[in-house]
Symmetry: C2
Subunit: 264 residues, 2 copies
């Protein structure tokens, strides 16, 4: 979309002189083997770390990759968005192919495209969609076992949806935030929150303008408590009002969660 | 279906006296971690071995599990069928739940039901359906990576289907058999063999009355050679006529193959 600015040769040289350009990337990963998205000094096993290692090698210089947001250890992404400023003579497609060649099999780069210098994958993100998958079959989810939370209790989708509806719109979601020392605003807007049965699964799809630490997993854990009869749907209003993590339900396991899409 | 015979208490005792009964089981597994279906002395890591270990523990006596056929190391099954003669007071559903509790996460028992004493999962099998999945996307199949063969060459589905049609019906498939010392008949009947594009994949579905060692994988490898232009579809007739493994194409990797269904 910002191809024009990126395709213009630098003013100094006549040919394909290198200069710093910004690239937008769409990344898909299975989070099972990783300690989350964010680079850490304690571990090599992060998605951001893997991406930066490959791009730094490609450019022969350190490259920083900025993601639209962190995902926890074990959380997956169908289309995480990231950006990086790099100097390379490779085309966007060649960058994608280089990355896919050297990244592990559980991280894929779906798309690379030149972006405006000002594009920032986190600051410019307007909305995100997450999906949480609960497996409710009588047996075991062999092929999907790393992507679902297996629940034995019978769950009422109607009760879960009734509870979910209380969360729509703009609220202070402090009760659904795992970070107790959160200094910044805990107000967020949920645009859509649906609970649907799909075969042997219950899928929770949630779209909003931003999500606090563990917010989707705490919402899911609380909806599970409502669905299994441990709470009433109407309690959701009280939980919101308390602005206290203790008021909400359990944190659902990471592996059921997938970042589906980031909107700009 | 044979519930009557199995539900009648034994003539000797008045109560739930144990006697040897035959059970039919439907098993789902991801083959990635296993050295195939068949029990071997050299390894504990077989599906049959895992099933027998759990059932022997359940019954407190050695149990033999008979599968509808072997699957190779790395090959998956959505619905492998097996049977076992066992003495237990547990109901069919309790047997299923016990097995799912103690089997690893990549093996699931979808169904257990009482069967006639004469039911034999291999000898009574009339037809089987396999599916082979070829990934042809430009990037990488992150979530499906253990279930597909990733192919970079452009493939013509039309050429592959034209070649596949030569294999329909009853033929001597010796050219498609990896076992060179096969003494028994290598004549088999293929009832259906379709090549379809489905999103980023090409799926080969094959139904027949029986399959020789590596037969589906050699057929797939040969169809890949036709699809990528290395062979002509018409060569299939010559390959069949030669009755020589050397005449056919490569053996496609195990991981793309899944046993879908066994018909009785």
């Amino acid at each position: 979309m910002e191809a024009f600015a990126a395709d213009v040769p630098s003013a100094k040289g006549g040919g394909r002189e290198k200069r710093m350009k910004n690239y937008k990337m769409v990344i898909c990963y299975e989070g099972t083997r990783y300690d989350g998205w964010q680079k850490q000094t304690a571990t090599d096993q992060t998605v951001q770390g893997k991406l930066e290692a490959v791009l730094s090698r490609m450019c022969g210089a350190p490259v920083e990759v900025q993601g639209s947001g962190r995902t926890d250890a074990g959380v997956h992404a169908l289309a995480q968005v990231a950006n990086a400023h790099m100097e390379t003579e490779l085309s966007a497609e060649q960058i994608r192919d280089y990355m896919n060649l050297y990244l592990p099999a559980d991280i894929s780069v779906e798309q690379v495209e030149p972006a405006s210098d000002r594009f920032h994958s986190r600051l410019n993100a307007r909305r995100k969609t997450y999906c949480y998958r609960i497996y409710t079959g009588e047996t075991k989810p062999v092929f999907e076992r790393n992507y679902v939370w297996t629940v034995k209790e019978p769950l009422s989708v109607a009760r879960m949806q009734a509870a979910a509806d209380f969360l729509l719109g703009e609220h202070d979601f402090k009760s659904f935030c795992a970070n107790k020392r959160m200094k910044k605003s805990t107000v967020r807007r949920i645009d859509s929150l649906t609970v649907r049965r799909q075969g042997k699964e219950i899928r929770i799809a949630i779209t909003g303008n931003g999500f606090l630490y563990n917010m989707v997993r705490i919402i899911t854990g609380t909806l599970w408590e409502v669905g299994s009869g441990q709470r009433e749907p109407e309690e959701m209003a009280k939980i919101l009002a308390k602005r206290d993590r203790q008021a909400a339900g359990i944190t659902a396991p990471a592996q059921g969660l997938t970042l589906m899409e980031v909107f700009y």
